[in-house]
């Protein structure tokens, strides 16, 4: 229902205005009032404003207030959060007296999700740029361009909290000196220092004898015997004496300390030491010989070979491993076991009809030797005991033999024998006999063997001195067989022969 008021009574006001004008104004006033009243509902003396009559820029106030008021007409406000200056869950931050909210309202820390636009006015970026905070790339690392590269780069104070220094000091990073090297006191030197170098003066260390390597002691505290030269002045030898046997398998019993064994199946040399066989690397000793350097000694398929001319090669056995070696394996029939000895090496042979030692005449080797042999010459003519190199009969073996007269042994006799089939060592005149003789032999690269011999002749107890020489075949490479030169030469078996290579 709408409130309306009644138009008042019309009257005429004298002189001032006609009643018609007055009434018109009055009616206009009344109509305006009623028009205003028409907005409101009126009931029981109360005006109410219909919500449907109110619009707010297209928003209907009744719709807005439909669920937002209480039964008594008051507005129903939604639940309001807790406003507080102290950070707490489900609360609305409120500024403190300083006008700022507490920093604890912010989600700090890694993965907090806080995403600031700048830090101290600096923006962040993965791409290096001036006045920018670096951000790791997808690989989790900074772009290297962020770093001050080059000699004009940055200078860190520490690395992981450690300072750098050229002077050795605890808890310090070493820096090289002006020569580009660290001060030696940075290293834990000295025995027990734990310093483990890769090489020393570019040489590696090894337990196994190896060329150009530094020897290391084995578990027994001793270096392998293969490190030592076979001969030399004094202590350079493996041992003073050894007995060398040749075969296909190592003897399991009957071995003595220092025994040597050459295995023909793989050309390896062993020494019996501390109750077991140990391999000797014979190659370094061979390679150190003058004939190896001269190209007259080589290893072919593991087999040592000697050559008289660099073209024809012959197998031989390295006789190394002790200062004095008694060669126990000889072939008195076919002479198939021939041995190479290095300068300084001494060998002993028993009951041999040949001297199975090879040589290379191109290096002009010199040997000293001894014969322990009993030989009697009961023939009318002289007998010459000597060698046939390579078991080849010679012609022109020459000997100048000087000895004292038999009785009394005061005058000197000279015998010249110039056509022997051997390289002469000893000469026995008729009725002469010998027990012992020694010789010095030089083998020259012009195929001439020279000798100086000394013989103890039993008859009369005197001594003979001889100078000998012979031209040998150019194919000669071993000392050869022992023969007595006479009208019908005969091969002689010598109880003991000792031979030392001087050079």
């Amino acid at each position: 229902m709408k409130k309306r008021i009644s138009r008042p009574y019309r009257f005429q006001y004298r002189g001032i205005a006609s009643s018609a004008e007055h009434n018109a104004e009055h009616d206009l006033f009344t109509d305006s009032i009623n028009e205003l009243y028409g907005i409101f509902d009126y009931e029981n003396g109360n005006f109410t404003l219909p919500a449907s009559s109110v619009t707010m820029s297209g928003l209907r106030l009744d719709s807005f207030l439909l669920v937002g008021h209480n039964p008594d007409g008051t507005l129903k406000l939604p639940p309001m959060p807790n406003f507080t200056v102290n950070p707490s869950p489900n609360a609305v931050p409120m500024a403190g007296n300083d006008g700022k909210i507490s920093v604890n309202w912010l989600p700090l820390g890694h993965n907090s999700g806080l995403n600031a636009d700048t830090v101290d006015n600096f923006h962040a970026s993965q791409v290096p740029a001036p006045n920018t905070i670096p951000v790791a790339g997808n690989d989790g690392k900074l772009n290297p361009a962020w770093l001050p590269a080059g000699s004009g780069g940055g200078d860190a104070d520490t690395v992981d909290g450690f300072h750098a220094s050229q002077t050795p000091a605890p808890n310090t990073i070493p820096a090289s000196l002006s020569n580009g090297k660290l001060h030696v006191n940075w290293l834990p030197t000295g025995h027990g220092g734990g310093l483990d170098a890769d090489t020393v003066d570019t040489f590696h260390a090894s337990r196994t004898p190896t060329p150009n390597a530094i020897p290391v002691a084995g578990s027994d505290g001793k270096i392998d015997a293969g490190w030592l030269p076979i001969t030399g002045s004094g202590g350079g030898s493996f041992s003073y004496y050894g007995r060398l046997t040749v075969g296909t398998s190592l003897p399991a019993s009957g071995n003595n300390e220092g025994d040597l064994f050459y295995r023909t199946t793989d050309n390896k040399l062993f020494v019996f030491r501390n109750g077991s066989w140990s391999e000797i690397n014979w190659l370094p000793f061979v390679q150190a010989s003058p004939e190896w350097i001269a190209g007259r000694l080589r290893v072919q398929g593991g087999q040592l070979q000697v050559s008289p001319d660099g073209t024809n090669w012959h197998n031989c056995i390295p006789c190394v491993g002790a200062s004095v070696i008694r060669i126990a394996t000889v072939d008195n029939t076919s002479y198939t076991r021939l041995y190479w000895i290095a300068p300084g090496q001494t060998v002993v042979l028993d009951n041999v009809n040949h001297v199975p030692i090879v040589f290379a005449k191109d290096v002009n080797p010199v040997y000293n030797g001894y014969f322990v042999v009993s030989y009697n010459n009961n023939a009318a003519v002289d007998h010459v005991i000597g060698l046939r190199p390579n078991n080849i009969a010679l012609s022109g073996g020459e000997m100048r033999h000087m000895h004292s007269a038999i009785n009394p042994p005061t005058s000197l006799n000279v015998v010249v024998n110039s056509n022997a089939s051997v390289f002469p060592l000893y000469l026995l005149t008729n009725s002469g006999s010998m027990d012992y003789g020694r010789f010095s032999v030089s083998i020259r690269n012009n195929n001439v063997m020279h000798g100086i011999t000394l013989t103890q002749i039993v008859t009369g107890g005197f001594t003979a001195l001889a100078s000998t020489r012979a031209t040998i075949p150019s194919s000669s490479y071993w000392f050869g067989t022992v023969f007595v030169h006479q009208s019908t030469p005969s091969q002689l078996t010598v109880p003991h022969v000792m031979l030392t290579r001087v050079a």
Partner: protein, 143 residues
């Protein structure tokens, strides 16, 4: 069978000859001394050549032994040499005259043997004991 070859003007004999060298087959037990080179070929010496070599060798040997034997004899008697003996013999020293007679006998025996040696076979020569032979030449008594 063995092989003989020439190298540096000398003859060598072995089981095998060096490669590329002209070799000659020779019987076993042949010595280079049994062979000679004739016009580049190796040929055996004749038996007479070998016997002569043996005889020459013995001749030298026995002369050497004889010289030694005589020297010992003279030294044992206190003389320096045959000239010394001759001087004392001319001075009618009996001992020197006997020693001179011994030497004449010895030399006669020696040269007689050397004449015989020229006709001896090689094997007979090699069987001689020269020292015993010399000693036998020296057996002489004036009685």
């Amino acid at each position: 069978m063995k092989y003989a070859w020439i190298e540096n003007g000398l003859i060598f004999i072995g089981d095998l000859a060096p490669e590329g060298v002209k070799a000659f087959e020779v019987p076993d037990h042949t010595l280079p001394q049994d062979l000679k080179v004739v016009e580049g070929q190796i040929v055996p010496k004749t038996e007479e050549e070998k016997a002569e070599e043996v005889r020459e060798k013995v001749r030298k040997e026995i002369l050497k032994l004889a010289r030694s034997f005589v020297n010992r004899k003279l030294e044992g008697a206190g003389y320096y040499g045959l000239g010394d003996v001759k001087i004392y013999a001319d001075m009618n020293y009996r001992e020197a005259q006997e020693l001179l007679a011994w030497y004449v006998h010895f030399e006669k025996k020696l040269w007689s043997f050397l004449e015989d040696l020229k006709g001896m076979k090689a094997e007979d020569v090699e069987r001689l004991n020269l020292q015993e032979l010399i000693n036998s030449f020296g057996d002489y008594t004036t009685a």
